[in-house]
């Protein structure tokens, strides 16, 4: 299965995770073989140093902020391959040295070959 994520930070503060990363973990934990491709704004998920610390509403202070980069790295530790679209990283000025180790940079021209390797492709 290939999960394609295109939207970043959608309700991640409320959910304390990204819902699709979370689902990917859950499916993987249930035995699914999952790889992920980040496109569009979601390429930000492979950036080091994401740190939404300090959300406060009234007296409530978030004790478990989302740690998106950690969740991406944790998927890699479960043998999920993580890809990010090179062109979408480049236009946003995200260089390789800013990105988690182990992430595969995929050029747009390489997408057809990548997609042919999966029977299930879910675009979110």
């Amino acid at each position: 299965m290939l999960q394609i994520l295109t939207v970043a930070y959608r309700a991640t503060l409320e959910e304390q995770d990204d819902p699709i990363l979370w689902l990917s973990h859950s499916l993987r934990n249930n035995g699914a073989h999952i790889d992920l491709l980040f496109r569009s704004s979601a390429v930000s998920y492979v950036v080091r140093g994401q740190s939404p610390i300090g959300l406060r509403i009234g007296e409530w202070v978030q004790s478990q902020p989302p740690d998106i980069a950690y969740e991406v790295a944790a998927l890699m530790s479960k043998d999920c391959r993580i890809f990010a679209l090179a062109e979408d990283l480049a236009v946003r000025g995200i260089r390789r040295e800013h990105v988690l180790g182990g992430v595969g940079f995929i050029a747009r021209a390489e997408l057809p070959a990548l997609l042919r390797g999966y029977t299930n492709i879910w675009q979110w």
Binding site: D17, S26, I57, G58, Q64
Partner: protein, 136 residues
């Protein structure tokens, strides 16, 4: 000196958009700044104050309910209502009644009232500014 009053029109349901957390940050900041706040919750935003929301454990994170400390937007509504009360700030949170009926979320946290576009128009006419946070 007339008080500064800000009106926010919210549209997004809970757990669907980054706009929700930002809206609550704005409301929190406005109260701390001493501004009165009106919230007109429209469409899916009427579920923000739904009292039946419940936090949950998170097996993926390896945390129980207490450990996950998962926020609910209804708890956030209670927090800003309490914050306003403590600071003698007026926070008037109105749910659009027809939107509530459609969605069946008529059990709202205490302090939230049912209203209509007439309330929104009243807010607009008595506010320093009105900000619509649209949905997509």
């Amino acid at each position: 000196m007339p008080r500064t009053v800000l009106t926010l029109v919210l549209n997004d349901p809970p757990y669907e958009s980054a706009r929700t957390a930002t809206a609550f940050r704005i409301i929190d900041a406005a109260i701390r700044r001493g501004y009165d706040v009106n919230v007109f919750a429209y469409e899916g935003a009427v579920a923000l104050a739904f009292a039946c929301q419940a936090p949950h454990a998170n097996a993926v994170h390896g945390r129980d309910v207490a450990g996950e400390d998962h926020p609910t937007t209804s708890a956030w509504v209670r927090e800003v209502l309490e914050l306003a009360r403590e600071r003698s700030i007026k926070l008037d949170w109105v749910n659009c009644g027809l939107c509530v009926d459609e969605r069946g979320v008529d059990d709202a946290v205490r302090g939230v009232r049912r209203g209509s576009p007439a309330d929104l128009w009243s807010f607009v006419n008595t506010s320093t500014n009105t900000l619509v946070i649209p949905t997509r």
